[in-house]
Symmetry: D2
């Protein structure tokens, strides 16, 4: 079978397609024919050696496909079941612990960039019936992070308003999940084209932060002086604008730090503003199962920017690095 | 001005339309030109002396209209604002207390069955922009009860499944609010006509309890063996079927007792089933404000069975008693 | 080694002490030298065939002892560690599911009534340093049930008041845990001797339900007309007295049904009273770990009525059936 | 009567004792004979014109005393009742809103530095029976802030561990309240004398941050590598040490910013650490009522550093500014 291997130290130029034996399903494992994956920031950090992995590592945390063989003792799935992987294979349920988040697929253990993988059956979930494998493979990292922010850490309810920043994977999923839940969305982005696309996806208000660098106050005005209930924070650094946009008692859900700067804000904005900043990273298998039920009921379709082949992985990463995409970058094979 | 007065003891035959002076707005009050109301079970109990009110009581807890005069010190509203009343005028915020729920409009104090009422400005909320007065006037009792069940007592999230019983006001609002929130709805009702209407409103599965008296197991089967997450219980009495329909760890939200029988169920269904039964009655002004934001964002439209004039109140109550309605019985003047 | 076996159908008269080979720790297992256990109602139901188990079953869900051998791959414990078992070996974390509660130790799998047991290392927790094995062995069923009621289902806080019924294992643990948390306790019991003992353990008010069959109102009066925040319900049947004792918005935590009657109460007590009844059964390993930290910090000591030897198990069950005990019935060997 | 007035701009040198007419209780008000107050950081900021108040303002947010006259319509209290004021007179219940926290006693309206004050009866609470007026007057600002941090924003449970910084009012109350709730306390402070006093109050571990500037790791080690569940943050600025001390998934409860520096921390500590920082400021009357019940049940006694007379207010502020106190600075008259 074909699979992708990283060198050590890894770089986009040393990503290689190799032939390996098709693995067998050991006790408790299933053999999965993988059909699709998608790119996340974490995958990029591993592939470019910022988060170094050992030589020979198969990358990519996202993966969807089909069960083709059952290892001894597996009752959770049957051959032919469509399945989607989880980001943290050791996090089944409950709140995070150091042990549960110690292994990320594609970094501390092999990922899904292969025609076949043998994985513990406990680390897979059924694919929603309304999604193709490519669509399902966009969800385990970015989609589930947005889900946890809104429905595990927060209890987003109809009538709430969230703010999203930019149009990366987590931000778009947050937008779509919030609309699915009867909530309102305000978006800040950088170009008229992205503004239009965000409106089409259901954002009630879209601002251009280049034109309105003091967008915090503008958001407050757009919400009748009240402010938004939640910010899905992906930029980090100086939170002044996003905390200004938050209502008194509102919460910033901190899931990314694209600015690569330390978090900073005036203490009064938090204390007198009764505001909180909650850091979080992906979620459990139980959370993914619940998100998948929600997606099946609502018919939500992930936004896919472009789909590459497995052998084009380095090009796909280069497209990711360009920052021009709108929606997820997928891989299918 | 015209208004409705109850006799004591009250009956549908002694409901009378009378002329009174238009009241003036005292300190902290607004004078409201009432345009609409709707009927709830509580109104019927008061009108038929099951919950006796003093002679001369103006009935009806629901009301919507317009501010026409401001009393001294009122800053919460301006003349011309469209406003909707609250069921518990003493419950502004926070959880219920004996004091907060001691006064129900139309029973312990006058209600909205009048051309003009002078009411404490703190007990009114702004009418959602997308609703007519008649539509808004269907919400403060039945709509808010469904809202509290799903979003205050429960934290209904996308992907959850609720079960509703019949097609009374609270049940239909629960259906609509659940759909607004990305949740799934199973309904049990009694006639093919109502089954069809419930499907059109978005119920994924509808059962006829006359044909399937053991509907609890049928619901479990329809949900893939899992059971529903919540039951909005309006019948009460023997909860065996509705607790059977509930998943392990699920919750029954008990808001009505149409059966007029004591609640009863086998203890093992609760203990081994980890199930709970939560009683509740309407909600606070703050909850109504949040529900109204949700309705404005989502564009939800209440289902109205029929609209009567103020002077036809006794007929409207008789229609309510017939049990043939689907949706709220409204009044407009 | 010595161990206890049940016959099928089981009865107290056919409980037998047998010799078996000391088991070996398989992969993922530890071999545990068991030193103590205690009796719970569930053990009695199994031993008397009300909840039938297969012939040869080793009974008793509670157990504490020492790790004497590690199976392949075990890193969670070292030889010499003091460990205590869990009631639901498949429930590690998160909320309950049908699968997690499908196996109860001593019923669907062997229990701790043996000198040595080989058990999955994931199903054990470290014994609190301040407890003997006998003390620790009183906690996994009764103590953890009280813990989950007060701190998982409820969020008991200082200043809250709970009501306990009688002086069984769960009730006494609820009393002690509530006092540890700064909460107030009202107890209802049947004899002056038990009243005195409950006062010594920290109950602020103790009533004799034989002298005050309408004890619900008496409790309300004792709490200044407010009612208690929580009832730890172990009797079940007609909940009129215990719901009367609950404040508006209060919660009954239903963990037992000694009356063997169906739960019943007037719907108005729940609806107008905004009261809920939450059924629950024991808890997860993660909850046990947290409870053990609390016990270690506070120095709580379980109340032990009497300690029997392993070979006296039938006599211990007969003592349990007498209902004369105050505190847990323990076994040590 | 005697009372204290601030000049505008205010300074410690222009605080003056003046004679005024005893006020009368208007409608809804009670006349309160004030006997005690205490100093908070907010009072200092007002008195030193950092938070400017109008000329003639009576300072001090805390106050306890006795009801001596009832205004028209007051049923909440009787003459002779012992009462304690609230910090936010407009915040009765529920979560904070801009309106509810718009008025702080002693800044936007008159405070308690007077022999008599006429105040809205809704803004007072009954004094716990076990506290003197001086003791009760230490609680409405500092005690209630600690209470909200631990029991409203967090749900502190037995077995949790909190970290406190220094020995200011909020920190000591957090220590005492946590111990009342069965929780563990780690404290960091600056002198051997304060270390000893913190141990006597029940802190399990006390560190000297001057000797251990990298105290975050030391705290992690003291908690068996796990970290604390909550930090009660009063210093602000660079949160590196306190977030290092927090376990994965732990929460910083940000109530003060003595460092006067912006909050800053590396985003990875929040995101990969799943940690949150929650700002908050005092709480509602309903929260104060609940805290007072807890104090009455537990017998908690506030730590008072020193008590001044009303006319010594400027000296009391100078003592506060010295930073040498351990516990609250009280005033009695």
């Amino acid at each position: 079978m074909k699979c992708i291997e990283l060198a050590s130290p890894s770089s986009l130029d040393t990503i290689r397609v190799v032939e390996r034996e098709v693995p067998r399903a050991g006790p408790g494992e299933v053999l999965m024919r993988v059909h699709a994956s998608s790119l996340n920031f974490h995958d990029y950090l591993v592939a470019t050696n910022i988060m170094p992995a050992p030589s020979g590592r198969i990358p990519l945390s996202d993966g969807a496909g089909e069960v083709v063989e059952l290892g001894e003792g597996v009752t959770r799935f049957a051959v032919g079941d469509r399945v989607t992987g989880t980001y943290f294979p050791r996090w089944i349920d409950g709140p995070p612990t150091p042990d549960k988040i110690s292994v990320m697929r594609g970094e501390q253990c092999d990922g899904f960039a292969a025609e076949y993988v043998a994985v513990d059956a406990e680390t897979l979930t059924r694919t929603p019936a309304n999604l193709s494998d490519v669509e399902a493979a966009t969800l385990p990292c970015a989609g589930l992070t947005a889900w946890r922010a809104l429905f595990v850490e927060a209890s987003l309810a109809p009538g709430d308003t969230i703010l999203i920043e930019g149009s990366g994977g987590v931000s778009l999923f947050a937008l779509q999940l919030a609309r699915m839940a009867g909530a309102n969305v305000v978006a800040v982005t950088s170009t008229p084209e992205k503004m239009e696309k965000l409106r089409l996806l259901g954002a009630a208000h879209v601002l251009n932060y280049r034109e309105q660098p003091e967008w915090g106050k503008a958001v407050t005005a757009l919400t009748g002086g009240r402010g938004v209930d939640y910010v899905v924070e992906v930029v980090g650094g100086d939170l002044t604008q996003s905390l200004t946009a938050l209502r008194l008692g509102g919460r910033s859900l901190l899931i990314g730090a694209l600015s690569r700067q330390p978090i900073t804000y005036r203490s009064l904005m938090a204390i007198a503003g009764n505001r909180s900043v909650t850091g979080l990273t992906v979620a459990s298998r139980a959370d993914q199962e619940k998100m998948f039920r929600a997606i099946e009921i609502s018919g939500l379709k992930p936004v896919i920017d472009r789909t590459f082949g497995l052998e084009e992985l380095a090009d796909a990463f280069r497209h990711q690095a360009s920052g021009t995409q709108f929606g997820k970058i997928a891989l299918a094979w």
